[in-house]
């Protein structure tokens, strides 16, 4: 018992230390990009400026301080959740991000669920019969899915289901206009509409969600599928499964053993996909005018508004790193071997 506790202590300590170092490195990278590559001063003072204006602006932004001091100010602001102010909407970037985060979270979560629901069973089935026709079909679908540019696939789906068949609404936002006044509890329209008991609004939100979620599911699920498939194949040929079969254990028992060992890498891959999705939605958000983080960043960029773009980058990188940590912890829960720190 004590041994396990110590093991967990070491494991979590090391993981948290790595996360901390990674976050510091991340902030150094974004700091360097903002301070060495781009120079916001010229954007702020405009094309017709005097030296006096330039000097004032440099002093106001603290750019005359030594570099380490500037970095500390920057990191201090980040720690307080201050990502700067949008020059276009005049809102603090953090507030803008908070209002748009639910849209992206809703989209990426549903995309992840859709993907996992088909990829994991298909991967396991294909992996346990690697030479079958089913496995080959699955391989082709997976390869096609990775190769598909998400923004193009989204357009094709819009063409078929909106322009030709008119089964689904126009790719304009998250819900039909008349339901936009619905009370915001979680910011997820699919939940809020049910919360309000408004069935028609719920249907409308699902209809808007289905195509972007499907697009992302098709393009991101193949990595999970491939891991599930190759791990299952590898495990089914391993010694301990052969021994289990030799002992005469039933097929279902053998499958249960195999499943447990396949789970850890698959969970890691699912977590990485989720981390990717949060920022990977950007192209799909543009296609479907989905008012999430990606669209916010692109709009900001088109207005030469720099801070929101960097804020979204930082947030998604931080999210990715944290989700990665979470995946490591889940892996350690499933598989004791992963807890042993070298």
């Amino acid at each position: 018992m004590l041994e396990t506790l110590r093991e967990w202590g070491f494991f979590l300590g090391k993981r948290l230390a790595i996360l901390l170092i990674s976050l510091v490195l991340m902030s150094i990278i974004t700091f360097s990009v903002t301070h060495f590559i781009g120079n916001p001063v010229y954007l702020l003072v405009g094309p017709r400026h005097t030296q006096q204006m330039l000097d004032n602006m440099i002093r106001d932004l603290g750019l005359d301080q030594p570099l380490w001091q500037q970095y500390l100010n920057y990191a201090g602001n980040l720690l307080q959740g201050d990502l700067g102010v949008s020059r276009y909407s005049y809102n603090p970037v953090m507030r803008d991000i908070r209002s748009r985060l639910p849209a992206t979270l809703e989209l990426s979560t549903f995309a992840l669920l859709l993907g996992v629901l088909w990829a994991v069973p298909a991967g396991i089935l294909a992996g346990s019969r690697p030479r079958s026709r089913f496995a080959r079909i699955v391989d082709v679908i997976a390869q096609a899915g990775v190769s598909m540019p998400s923004f193009w696939l989204g357009l094709l789906l819009i063409y078929v289901f909106f322009a030709k068949l008119s089964w689904l609404p126009a790719p304009l936002g998250r819900i039909d206009r008349q339901y936009r006044t619905i009370a915001q509890v979680t910011g997820w329209y699919t939940i809020d509409t049910l919360w309000a008991g408004n069935w028609n609004a719920f249907v409308s939100s699902v209809k808007h969600l289905i195509l972007p979620a499907l697009t992302l599911a098709i393009t991101t699920s193949p990595s999970t599928l491939r891991i599930a498939r190759s791990k299952t194949e590898e495990i089914m040929q391993s010694d301990y499964i052969r021994s289990a079969r030799a002992f005469g254990l039933s097929n279902s028992t053998v499958r249960r053993y195999a499943f447990k060992n396949m789970l850890a890498p698959v969970v890691t891959m699912i977590a990485m996909t989720y981390g990717y999705l949060l920022s990977g939605t950007v192209l799909v958000e543009i296609i479907f005018t989905w008012p999430g983080l990606g669209l916010y960043a692109v709009d900001a960029m088109n207005h030469s508004d720099y801070e929101p773009v960097m804020g979204v980058v930082l947030l998604s990188a931080g999210f990715y790193l944290s989700i990665y940590l979470l995946a490591d912890i889940i892996t350690a829960l499933i598989d004791p071997r992963a807890r042993v720190t070298k």
Binding site: S22, I37, Q143, W152, L155, A163, S279, L283, V309, A317
Partner: protein, 292 residues
Amino acid sequence: MTTATTSTKTATFVRPSFLRRLLDANGLWRVTINFGILLAFISLGILAPVLPLQNPVKPNPMNTLQPPSAEHWFGTDRDGMDIFSRTIHAIRTDFTLALSSVLIGIALGVPLGAISGYYGGLLDNVITRITEVFQGFPQILFGMAFIAAAGNTLTNVVLIVAFYNIPVYSKMVRSVVVPLRDVEFVQAARVAGNPSLIIVFRHIIPNALVPVFAQLPLSCAYAVQMIAGLSFIGLGVEIPKPEWGSMIQVGANYMVFGKWWLSVFPGLALFYSVWVLNNISDILKSLWSKRV
């Protein structure tokens, strides 16, 4: 290619040729079709200026948004430019940008991985950590941020894609180098008095070349996708220059009105080229996995 594992075989064993091994592992059809399509893409791209194609950047205001016809096989776009010709010419743009960014990534990533794997210790830890953080950065978004800061030029697009390829190669080379650190031929080289850098570059890195070459098409596939994605949001390639991503972007607004040909054809070209590159990477990887 001389490698540690093959040189110790008995004299009667003749190593099957590169092509033989490729065919044995993948089957004739798979190899022929994939390499055939890639070759077709590349030669179309190279020959595009001398082929009897219409001018890819010549607008024709009298002939905009025409559906596919005998004269314009893939139809015409918003400005009346011929989509077929543009799709073919775009191969040049996309493949060149992708290949150059991947090559820069290899040139920096391979030595970095070899050095961190060979020396180990603190240096290794620092390099590994930094590359992991790089990989956590959201690609398209960070690309946007970088290009917004550094200027919207083709060079910057190539640089940002190269930047994402560095960790891929440094990680892979490191994983090849670490087990080789204490192998006999490396020790022999060390005992003979070679300096570390010579050992790394002359004796260790050549062993990592097979996986690097197997990765190359896959990286190119990613690079093509990312370049198209960036130009889809208006970064890098300027509009009249033929490029798949920006062509899809031009067509995107017409898709809802049922004018499908503007986006579908460049998208198909993008999709096929990425697919073939992915397949070829899989085929080449069979060479590598058989040996491990």
